[in-house]
Amino acid sequence: MTNKSGPSRRQFLTTSLAAGGGMAATIAQAGDPAITEVQPWAQHLGEGVDQAGYGMPSPHEAHVLRKSVPWLTAEETSSINFTPLHQLDGIITPNGLAFERHHSGVAEIDPAEYRLMINGLVDRPMVFTMEDLMRFPRHNKVYFLECTANSGMEWRGPQLNGVQFTHGMLHNVMYTGVMLKDILAEAGVKTEGKWLLAEGADAAGLSRSIPMEKALDDCMIAFKMNGEALRPEQGYPARLVLPGWEGNMWIKWIRRLEVGDQPWHHREETARYTDLLASGDSRRFTWMMDAKSVITTPSPQAPILHGKGPTVITGIAWSGQGIIPRVDVTLDGGINWHKARVDGPSLDKSLHRFYFEFDWDGKPLLLQSRAHDTTGYVQPTKDALRKIRGVVSNYHNNGIQTWAVNSDGEVDNVEIS
């Protein structure tokens, strides 16, 4: 431990030994039945291969699920659910746990019937099949996707008591796909083509205007996530990937790209996904997802159950502007901060995993994390954002989250002075 106020390595080891010794004392007479009794799995044959052509998690993990907040939306086909961040580790979101956001339900598309059209200000309007897409040069990239409304329920103060619900409109997977610029080159973008309309094949026909500069930079049409085909709820058979930009623009079930000389100002970039300020004015085209972080455990759905002693704080940090070179953690509500340890791959526009290990004395804690990105941007407090925007923006709440841990290890979503 190099942290000034953290425990020394010697203290950490001493405490660990003491805790281990204590446990040994309490079970000394009978011994631990998990060890002294022959367990069924150690005696009888288990299931053979081929019990499941597609393997599922252990039944002991059956509680690890996406969940929705029923009161948020009118009904399920135009709704959202949340990734169980408190139950995950590392940086990759498993495909079955990646949050869902649909505007008119999931489009169930037969890949044989899939077509991608490019029209508008191009030399040649084109149609591509899935087979065509698979013949472009492929690329693999890990990117976070955050819904613009993530943490949006918290603008007026703490509402939802769980990191799944406050921050779970977020996932991070490895995409395999082709570069948008390579596909656009086949059609030939005319010089006056400054904007791209991307449109989905679902019953919402979800459409967004994208500046050509971004489209020709790092955008992809992806058909795999974490090595396997996109899940239907994530846009099977193909979706748009816009690294670092708001999730609403990553059109799922992408069916058409139209090149134009102006933006279209469609519903999802005017009535929705614009940021109303206290002044009554609104920001539009707020595409960038700013640097953000959150402690995933402990958190309200994942209290500290082990009592005082060696304790691991972990969380995630991300930025639409690049990598996360540093995350700070505070235990006392921001009086003193400590540098956390980022572990695992540090990739551009991807989740980063951080840890802070300390010796908990059992006293109440006020936990926060604070992300830095490569531009020098430091994640602001919620109050700093409110001071500029007010509380009716709905979107782009990347403020610092506070968890209050009581002496029993229970955790509450709070705000502090």
Binding site: P125, R135, A204, R267, N336, T375, P380
Partner: protein, 204 residues
Amino acid sequence: MSKFLNLLFATCLLTTPVLAEGLGRIATPDEVAAWDIDIRPDGLGLPEGSGTVIEGEGIFEEQCAACHGDFGEGVDRWPPLAGGFDTLTSERPQKTIGSFWPYLSTVWDYINRAMPFGNAQSLTANEVYALTAYLMYLNEIVDDEDFELSKQNFTELPLGNEQNFYPDDRDTTEYPLFTVACMIECKDSVEITHYASGKDVTPE
């Protein structure tokens, strides 16, 4: 060219993916017409057609009012479409077509591509013009029940809130402020000011 440059050039050729020229096929005009349904604020993309407020009222009652209410006030959690005037600076802004939306073309485009909910792209162009006209009436943009909206007059009656939108300015209004990270003795004391517990809004 030196041997070194030759080698370098050859290496580039080997490591740069070869562009997949000749993939896909030309889209036919009928195919483009079938999918290119979008319209823009300047009216680009609008088909020929027209519809009146009265015609729109009938279609709205039949196909829209179950969710949006007879007067566009919204039922349950479904979005209100009308009213909310002068609420944008209030504690609880009501963002409707009349109070918030910047462009009428967005109304036409969205109805045409996504409504009625669960039966998208089922309306004729005339029906979409009529529904748009009715929503203009509900939002007091026109006051004549016989008003007819058409491709010809579409851009003549703008919505009221367009001038209150401006492009993202976070790079000047926010980013310069968010660069400092105090590490030691950053404040004297800390109090909890708000709790989520007790609000009873979190699912099991």
